[in-house]
Symmetry: C2
Subunit: 274 residues, 2 copies
Amino acid sequence: MSHRAPKAKTANRLVVLGGEGVREAGSVWLVGAGPGDPELLTLKAFRVLATADVVVHDGLVSDEILDLAPAAARRISVAKRKSRHSYAQDEINRMLVAFALEGLTVVRLKGGDPFIFGRGGEELAACRAAGLDAQVVPGVTAALAASASAGAPLTHRGAAQSVTFVTGHAAHGEPDLDWPALARVNQTVVIYMGLTTAGLIAQRLTEAGRAPATPALIVVNASRADEQRLPTTLGQLADVAAGLSGPALLMVGEAMALAQANEIPDAILARVSA
Amino acid sequence: MSHRAPKAKTANRLVVLGGEGVREAGSVWLVGAGPGDPELLTLKAFRVLATADVVVHDGLVSDEILDLAPAAARRISVAKRKSRHSYAQDEINRMLVAFALEGLTVVRLKGGDPFIFGRGGEELAACRAAGLDAQVVPGVTAALAASASAGAPLTHRGAAQSVTFVTGHAAHGEPDLDWPALARVNQTVVIYMGLTTAGLIAQRLTEAGRAPATPALIVVNASRADEQRLPTTLGQLADVAAGLSGPALLMVGEAMALAQANEIPDAILARVSA
């Protein structure tokens, strides 16, 4: 047992929900910051952020958005880093709980939506276990922003009757995905964090029967000023992905035929046409 | 050829993008209004709505949100109605184009996100075919709001490695869905517009191997003041759905075990426990 547990219990007894009593514990808000463009914050996220005593944020959350918190609010980045210490999920959970038990209003600000590949469920569970009042504010997940700016619908009559979001992140060498299901026609598959595994993903989908000519789209930095939209095909996906970096989505499906490029760097064009 | 085609051509020639020339044609914005709570509008949707000359909206868009458009803006409901004339999609497409060709700023305001079961792709295609400047503003789709308020993540370590959005709407008697794929464990399946086909959906998923004990959640009127969250199981889904009405989501998957109810009407409790 850590020394924090009895404190949590005490605070918990003092929380009076909906009543007029003393309220000593603070609160935790798990807030979706949307895909990047500050204008794609919700009005609610905007309002809640302005009440923060502490903002615990991902690396994907831009300075423009962080500036919307009060100047006096403490800002803590828990960005994943390769070169130096990263916070483990467990440390983040404990941090949120500890600040709230000090009576602070804690905003956990996450790129996109807290409940789509955001590990918000784990943070919410930690707050609940500590008896804290925690609320979730949904956000525009990156796939919605990418499809909006490309003009390529995620569902579309005769082209995509469903849409699936998966992650290309591979904990054990290869993403553990249901390739035959994802290879079916008439659906859109959006792969978050799939840039480094794009070749493998394209290969598995093709082996499972998805045609190499299936339209695809890569969107890097969706909704940001430096957004790149690269329409391609499943067969060319790995070539187009190679050399790209930054937060990216791979989108595969017939409806991606409607996608409009904004920029295809010469280096990529050269590689694809080589 | 309609008499409108030559007009479109003329207008098209006069559109000067990024220049200083005369701009005669208006513009079309396909805007996601989010799930219902006006606070779940994005800042961008809020800004664009305030520029509207005409708002063409679904029945799901609340009066509170419509009030954010200028008082002088014309409001046109194209809600689906059973008892009287409904606009066909084709009529809506032509309406958007016709207003924009008159030089108006047209906001097509849709519940949720325009590109998730919103038929936004068809409207965008019609605008593009008329040579119009059309842009899409993404919105918080209902599934994100429902999972946020229930505290049940759509993806969750060890419980849901992916999430799929499908529609339960059946054009020909039965939804045309990939039941074996949807019946796999370790994923969340969200069925939009599935209330009337809940029994069939539960039966097909169970036949395809999904355990009747799989956690499920029904959310009616997500994010609105009258939101109802009903945690249940796949085996009980049809019983809980019976008698509910309004815009609803069925959500099936292990992560729905984390969902918190807000209210279970006595009538439903009685039916389920009978």
